[in-house]
Every structure is written in structure tokens, then in C-alpha cells.
């Protein structure tokens, strides 16, 4: 019962947060809502007994990714935020809903008909972190290392890409200087 209440509560919160993220016109609101949504997601992981995953979710997403986005937003001039053009809402919502329903049909219908829940109940007792560690460093060792290298590469790439002309900041320049800079780029 407690589980059900928790599920519905967090489900509502997550959906609400993400909804705000995609609809708000303020970038800052969106960022905040996204961060909140991420944290609420981790709640599901805890409910599902994936404690380690939940922790990682909070650390990586809310800690690292959100921080990155926050820094990124500082780079961009939020005062000059782009106006969202009104696309055809019906098409967008319709397509999304249709896609979602189809996914449900494809994935959920067989699950329900096979009554997976009753056949394979969740196993309790074993420490999740321990379990994760066991699997991660035996069966998934190579992918894990590859992922590590990938992260490293991404880090270097991020630094290299963003790090060029670190001294140049568009936020600090006036419009004329920006124009000049643009022309230079185009010419080069």
C-alpha cells in the first residue's frame, strides 16, 4: 500500500516536473524543473530496489549534468532567449501520444497477457550495490571500461570545444563587436 502511494505520488510529481520542462518559456524554470524531475525519478529506482542506480542518478544527473547545464546557461545570454515559434500543436501532441500508445501496445500488451508480475516477483534481501558491483566487474567489465574511456573522451572533447578562445565572451561584448567577430569567422 505504501508502495502504491509512493508510486503514484512520485509518478505525478515526475510527470508534472517534466511537463513544466517542456512547456515553460523560461529556461531557468525548465532547468529547475528538470533537476527536480531527475530527483523524483531516482525515487522510483529506490522503490524498485535499485539503490545504487538511484544514487548514481542523483549524483550524475542532478549533480554533474545539471551543473553542466547551469554553467552552459551562464554562457548563453538568457536575456536574449529565443522566442519559441508556435509549431502545429495538434501534430506534435498527436504524434507523441500516438507513439506512446503504440509503445504501450507493443510492450505492455504481451506483458499483461503473460502476467509477468505473478510469475517473477522481485527478490529481496541481497544488497543491491553489492550485486551491481558483482555484475559490473565480471560480465560487463569490458563495456564498463569502454564507457569510462568514452567519458574521458567526452570530457576532453568538451574542454577542447568549449575551451577555444576562452577569453572571448559574447556576454561581455557589445553587438558591434559580435558582428565583427562573426564576420571574421565567416571570412576565415
Amino acid at each position: 500500500m505504501f508502495e502504491a502511494i509512493a508510486f503514484y505520488l512520485f509518478a505525478f510529481l515526475t510527470i508534472a516536473m517534466f511537463f513544466i520542462t517542456v512547456t515553460t518559456s523560461q529556461a531557468l524554470y525548465a532547468l529547475t524543473a528538470l533537476a527536480a524531475g531527475m530527483i523524483f525519478i531516482s525515487a522510483f529506482f529506490f522503490i524498485l530496489g535499485a539503490d545504487f542506480l538511484g544514487a548514481v542518478q542523483i549524483i550524475v544527473y542532478t549533480g554533474a549534468v545539471m551543473a553542466l547545464y547551469a554553467f552552459g546557461m551562464m554562457f548563453f545570454d538568457t536575456t536574449r532567449d529565443v522566442k519559441e515559434k508556435k509549431g502545429n500543436k495538434y501534430i506534435i501532441v498527436g504524434l507523441s501520444t500516438l507513439a506512446a500508445i503504440l509503445v504501450v501496445v507493443i510492450v505492455a500488451v504481451p506483458m499483461v497477457s503473460q502476467n509477468v508480475v505473478a510469475l517473477y516477483p522481485a527478490i529481496d534481501g541481497v544488497g543491491n550495490t553489492q550485486e551491481v558491483g558483482l555484475v559490473l566487474f565480471t560480465k560487463y567489465l569490458v563495456p564498463f571500461e569502454v564507457a569510462a574511456i568514452m567519458l574521458l573522451v567526452a570530457m576532453i572533447a568538451g574542454i577542447v570545444l568549449a575551451g577555444k578562445k576562452m577569453d572571448l565572451s559574447i556576454t561581455l561584448m557589445n553587438d558591434a563587436a559580435i558582428e565583427e567577430e562573426k564576420n571574421k569567422k565567416v571570412l576565415s
Binding site: G87, S96, L102, V103
Partner: protein
């Protein structure tokens, strides 16, 4: 004898190739001399062969080499000299020798002297192949070969539009007939398994009548083209655009008689199908009258002679169609002599009159050109069938054949009085227009002075060349019995006798009187001072019949207006409308649709990430729907089949 055969056949080819070497160079007299000598060699060889056959020798039959052999088909280059072909060989080589020698004089000033002899000798070679071949395919080679040479010779003065037009017309009309001939050949091959004369003739007896009728009809279509029978006759008159020696050789003596030769050669076929023969005879009689009527009013000297040729070909077809093959052959021979003489005489006149062709602008040339006058007069008498000239014997035999109508194969007596009457009437017309021409050219006032001509007698060599022909035109009738005895064997010939002697005398004398009276009538009408150049004002010229005849029954007009013009227009429509607008446009349209689809869908790739993402989602939805549909179908396939079967699908 085989050596003589090869000499007779290939001497003209050698002459042609020799002259052809010099086509691009200025006139060389020796090409003419060498050409004439080689043709003369051919003549001598033919004469030797004739003597051999006359003495009762077996027909000479040689097979030179294989031409085509595939499947069951076997066609060799085979040649045969028998009674029929030796007659033709004599006619061809004799007339062509004369014409070659004559041409040395006639073409004296022409730039294309060497080319002329190349074509002329090539023509003789083709003609020799035509008459000497022992199979239908070989005959067809010669058939097309003479067509080609006639094209080259009619269009000899290729800078003249009318000449090239006439050449093309002759070639194409002959091609129409050649198609018929080709189909006839196919029929012969598929029904008898061979194209050799002897094999095919032997097999004809086993075929049913309808097949034979078709073979006979298609072969005769071929003959109609070459011999210019109605409705394929218009090319012959237009062919007079060629040099006159060409008209004499090709369009009077030899090529146009090839059709008659074909019917005579296939007599074993035609004697099995007398109904086709009757059709041939009827058409021949019609053409005889039809052509003679056009000759009555024409104002072009060469065309008048051409129409008379046409008319005489009609006579030959009457004889051949009625089964009197030897008579047809005999008339062919006699006609070759006097008609060639007439044409060459006309050539003399043209030479004298700077290529003027309208006899109304001549008159009184008798004094200036005595020898030409005599020769043309004699040839015209022969043409009119006056005793004792050659024309009398041959034409009389045709009339008798029509009157008695003894069909050799069936041994049935049939009287064809209508044909007889038509021919008799035509004989009178022939006499009239022949002497109308002679009178207009050589008698009466010297109208040529009005037009500033200075006529002169032709060169000696030309006159000498004509002489043998005229002599033969006079005496050929004497050979009738010899000829009959010779060809009797090959053609199952019978003499035609009207049983009652009185009838014979009445007929003969009647015909003579009729012809002579027509000659006198022609003289009375045209040998006087009142004859003047027609200017289209006289009552006669405005009468309907005159106009009809003068415009050749409007047939050339009809062809030009309703066949040539529509053909050109349809071709144009086919190209501009059908080919470009429909066929090609369809292809381009399909390509255009594909291209246009790309052009349209290119808009999707606006480069805008947002749009692209929307399309991605749309694609995702599409694929997911497919997955659902196929998943459900696979899962419930049994149920669906059950449901469908319940529906009765």
C-alpha cells in the same frame, strides 16, 4: 557450252566494273568502247548458245556455288540456258549491244559518260542474272538488280529534280511489287521446300488450288510492278526523265518485259490456275486500251512511246494469261526490236532538237533527218502491226489466241471475245498514235523554226547502231516458225488455228484495213498546215475526255494527293506528335514523376532540426504501427484465416 554461259553472264559485269573505275574521272572514250565490246562478246556467246539450243541441244544447267544454306533452305547460284532463257538472252544482249554503241554517240558530250556505261553494263548483268537463273531467288537478285540500275539510270542526271523524283518513284513502286514477289517466294518455299524451278514446278502438281492461286497472285504482283501494269504503271511514263538510250534498253526492250518473262517462266504454275491467267489476261487487255488512250493526246514524244510500251506489255500479258506463252515471248522479242528502234530514233530527234520533247514544236523534220525518218517510220509500221513487219506476226497471233482461247493445260476452248474486241480496237489506236507522232515530227510545216531550233541529222554511229534493230523489226516475223519449233519443247506450245479459213482471212484483212485506215486518218489530221502548237484554247482541248486523257486519268494526281502527301503528313505526325509527344513524353514523364517526388520531398530536408525531428517521430509512429499490425497478424493468423474463410474468400 558452260564456258559460253559464263562469258555471256559475266562479260557485262566486267565491263561495268571496268567503267566504274573511271566514274570520278572525266570522259574516257575507251570505257564506252570496252563496255560495248564486252557486251558484244556476251552477244556472241548468247548466239552460240542459241545455235546450240536450236540444234536441239539439251538445256545447259550449271550450279556455280552455294549462296544461302540454312535449315532446309538451299539456294545456289545456279544458271540454266534453255529455250526460254536463250531467247531472252538474245533479246537482252542484242538490244544492249545496240544501245551501248548508240550511247557512245548519244552521250558524247555528257560529263557522266563513264558512269553511264558502268550503270548500263551493270544493268545488262542484272538482266542476264534475271533471265538465266535457275531458281526464284536468283531471279529475285536480278529483279532487284535491274531495279537498282534503273534507279541509277533514270536519275542519271541527278541535278534535275524531276529525274531524281522519277527515279525514286520507279524504285519505290517496284519495291511495292517486289514485296508481293517476295511473299510469293516464301509461299513457294514453305509449300514446296525449294526455290529451284524444276523442284518447285514438280511439287506444284501436288498442291491444292487455293495455295497455287495465292502463289500465282503474289508472283504476278511482282510482275505487275516491273512491267508497270495498272495500278503500278505511273512510274514508267515518269521514267522517261532518264537518257533516251536507257529508255530504249530498260523501259522498252528488257526490264519492263521481266514481268512477262516471270509469267512465262512460271507457266507450269499458271497453266494450273487458269482463273488467275484469265485475270492476268483481262488486266493486260485493260492496260493495253488504257495506255493507248493516254498516248492519243500526249504531247511528250517519249511519253507517247512509253505508253505504247505499256500498251504492248498489256498485249503480252493477254497472251501469257491465256496460256499462249510462246506467243507472248515472241511478241516480247519482236516488240523489243521495234520499240528500241523507235526510242533510239526519238533520241536522234531529241539530239537534233536540243532535248525538246513536244512533237508539236517540230514538224517537217523529214528533210533534215531522212534516215531517222525512215527508221522511225518502219518501226512505227512494225508497231502498228502492218504486214509484213514483225509486229504483224506477233500481234496477229495474240489476237488469234484471244479469239480462239485454247488453254493448253485444260484443253478447253474458250472464246474471249471481249478481250479480242478490246485488243482489236487498241490495235487501231496504236496505229493512230504511232503515226500521229510520225506525222507531227517529220511531216507538215517546219514549226521548229518558230522556236529557233537548228536540227541536224544524228551521228553516223548512232544511225548505224539503230540499223540492225530496224532490220530485225522488218524481218523478225519470218522466224516465227523456227521460234515456235524451238520453244515448243519448253512451253508445251500449240499453234492457234481458227478452224475456218475464211474467218482467218476476214480477221487478218479486217485488222489490216482497220490499222491502215487509222494510219491514214492520223496523216490526214496531222499532216497539214493547220497544225499548230496547242495553247489550251481549242474546243478539243477543253473537252472532258481530252483533259482526262491528258492528265493520265488523274491517277498521278490521285497518288500525289492521296498517298504521297498523306504519307508525308502521317510521318510528320508520327514523329512530332506520337514519338516526341506520347512515347518519349511518357518516358520523360515517368522520370519526371520520380524527379518531382524527390524535388517535393526535398522540402522535408529543410535542415531545420525541429522539422526533421518531427519527421523522425512520424517515421517512428509509422514503423511502430507496422510492428503492431504485423505482430497482431502473426499472432492471430489462424483466426484471421478462419474469419476470411467464413466470409468465403
Amino acid at each position: 557450252m558452260e564456258t559460253y554461259l559464263y562469258i555471256a553472264l559475266f562479260a557485262p559485269l566486267v565491263g561495268s566494273l571496268f567503267s566504274a573505275l573511271f566514274t570520278a574521272t572525266p570522259k574516257k572514250l575507251f570505257t564506252g568502247i570496252v563496255g560495248s565490246l564486252l557486251i558484244f562478246t556476251s552477244l556472241v556467246s548468247s548466239t552460240i548458245l542459241l545455235m546450240y539450243i536450236l540444234k536441239g541441244g539439251e538445256p545447259v544447267h550449271v550450279t556455280m556455288m552455294t549462296w544461302m544454306a540454312t535449315g532446309d533452305l538451299y539456294i545456289p547460284f545456279g544458271f540454266v540456258v534453255d529455250q526460254i532463257s536463250v531467247t531472252m538472252m538474245m533479246v537482252v544482249t542484242l538490244v544492249s549491244t545496240v544501245v551501248h554503241i548508240y550511247s557512245i554517240g548519244y552521250m558524247d558530250h555528257d560529263k557522266g559518260f563513264n558512269r553511264f556505261f558502268a550503270w548500263l553494263s551493270a544493268f545488262v548483268f542484272s538482266m542476264m542474272i534475271l533471265v538465266m537463273s535457275d531458281n526464284y531467288a536468283g531471279l529475285f537478285i536480278g529483279w532487284e538488280g535491274v531495279g537498282l540500275c534503273s534507279w541509277g539510270l533514270i536519275g542519271f542526271w541527278y541535278h534535275k529534280e524531276s529525274a531524281t523524283w522519277a527515279a525514286s518513284e520507279a524504285f519505290i513502286m517496284n519495291r511495292i511489287a517486289d514485296l508481293g514477289m517476295l511473299i510469293g517466294l516464301f509461299l513457294v518455299y514453305w509449300n514446296t521446300g525449294t526455290l529451284q524451278y524444276d523442284g518447285a514446278f514438280a511439287a506444284f502438281h501436288t498442291l491444292d488450288i487455293s495455295t497455287l492461286t495465292w502463289i500465282g497472285i503474289f508472283l504476278f504482283i511482282g510482275a505487275m510492278g516491273k512491267s508497270a501494269q495498272f495500278p503500278l504503271h505511273t512510274w514508267l511514263a515518269d521514267a522517261m526523265e532518264g537518257p533516251t538510250p536507257v529508255s530504249a534498253l530498260i523501259h522498252a526492250a528488257t526490264m519492263v518485259t521481266a514481268g512477262v518473262y516471270l509469267v512465262i517462266r512460271s507457266h507450269e504454275l499458271y497453266s494450273l490456275i487458269p482463273h488467275v491467267g484469265l485475270f492476268i489476261a483481262s488486266l493486260g487487255a485493260f492496260v493495253a486500251l488504257f495506255a493507248a488512250s493516254m498516248a492519243l493526246v500526249n504531247r511528250d514524244m517519249k511519253r507517247i512511246i512509253a505508253y505504247s510500251t505499256l500498251s504492248q506489255l498489256g498485249y503480252m500479258f493477254v497472251a501469257a494469261g491465256l496460256g499462249a506463252y510462246w506467243v507472248a515471248l515472241f511478241h516480247l522479242m519482236a516488240h523489243a526490236f521495234f520499240k528500241a528502234a523507235l526510242f533510239l530514233g526519238a533520241g536522234n530527234v531529241m539530239h537534233a532538237m536540243d532535248d525538246e520533247l513536244d512533237p508539236f514544236k517540230m514538224g517537217g523534220l523529214r528533210k533534215k533527218m531522212k534516215w531517222t525518218w525512215i527508221m522511225m517510220g518502219l518501226a512505227s509500221l512494225a508497231l502498228s502491226g502492218i504486214f509484213p513487219f514483225a509486229g504483224f506476226f506477233s500481234k496477229d497471233a495474240i489476237l488469234e489466241a484471244a479469239f480462239v482461247g485454247n488453254h493448253t493445260a485444260l484443253h478447253v476452248m474458250e472464246h474471249h471475245y471481249i478481250i479480242y474486241a478490246v485488243l482489236l480496237f487498241t490495235a487501231g489506236l496504236t496505229a493512230f498514235y504511232s503515226f500521229r507522232l510520225v506525222a507531227l515530227i517529220f511531216h507538215g510545216e517546219e514549226r521548229f523554226k518558230l522556236f529557233g531550233f537548228h536540227p541536224h541529222e544524228a551521228a553516223k554511229i548512232m544511225l548505224l547502231a539503230i540499223a540492225p534493230l530496224v532490220i530485225l523489226a522488218i524481218i523478225a516475223g519470218a522466224f516465227q516458225t523456227t521460234f515456235f519449233e524451238m520453244v515448243q519443247e519448253a512451253l508445251n506450245a500449240v499453234e492457234y488455228h481458227v478452224h475456218s479459213q475464211i474467218v482467218v482471212w476476214i480477221m487478218t484483212i479486217g485488222t489490216q484495213v482497220f490499222a491502215i485506215s487509222m494510219i491514214i486518218f492520223a496523216y490526214v489530221k496531222y499532216n497539214n498546215s493547220r497544225v499548230s502548237v496547242p495553247d489550251g484554247t481549242s474546243r478539243l482541248e477543253n473537252s472532258f475526255i481530252y483533259k482526262l486523257l491528258f492528265n493520265q486519268y488523274y491517277i498521278p494526281h490521285f497518288y500525289a494527293e492521296y498517298i504521297v502527301k498523306p504519307y508525308r503528313e502521317i510521318s510528320e505526325i508520327f514523329w512530332t506528335k506520337v514519338d516526341l509527344k506520347i512515347v518519349d513524353a511518357t518516358v520523360d514523364g515517368i522520370a519526371g514523376i520520380i524527379y518531382g517526388t524527390g524535388e517535393k520531398t526535398r522540402q522535408m530536408q529543410s535542415g531545420n532540426l525541429s522539422t526533421m525531428l518531427t519527421w523522425m517521430v512520424a517515421g517512428l509512429v509509422g514503423l511502430l504501427s507496422l510492428a503492431v499490425v504485423f505482430g497482431l497478424t502473426a499472432r492471430y493468423s489462424d483466426e484471421i484465416l478462419l474469419f476470411l474463410s467464413a466470409l468465403g474468400v
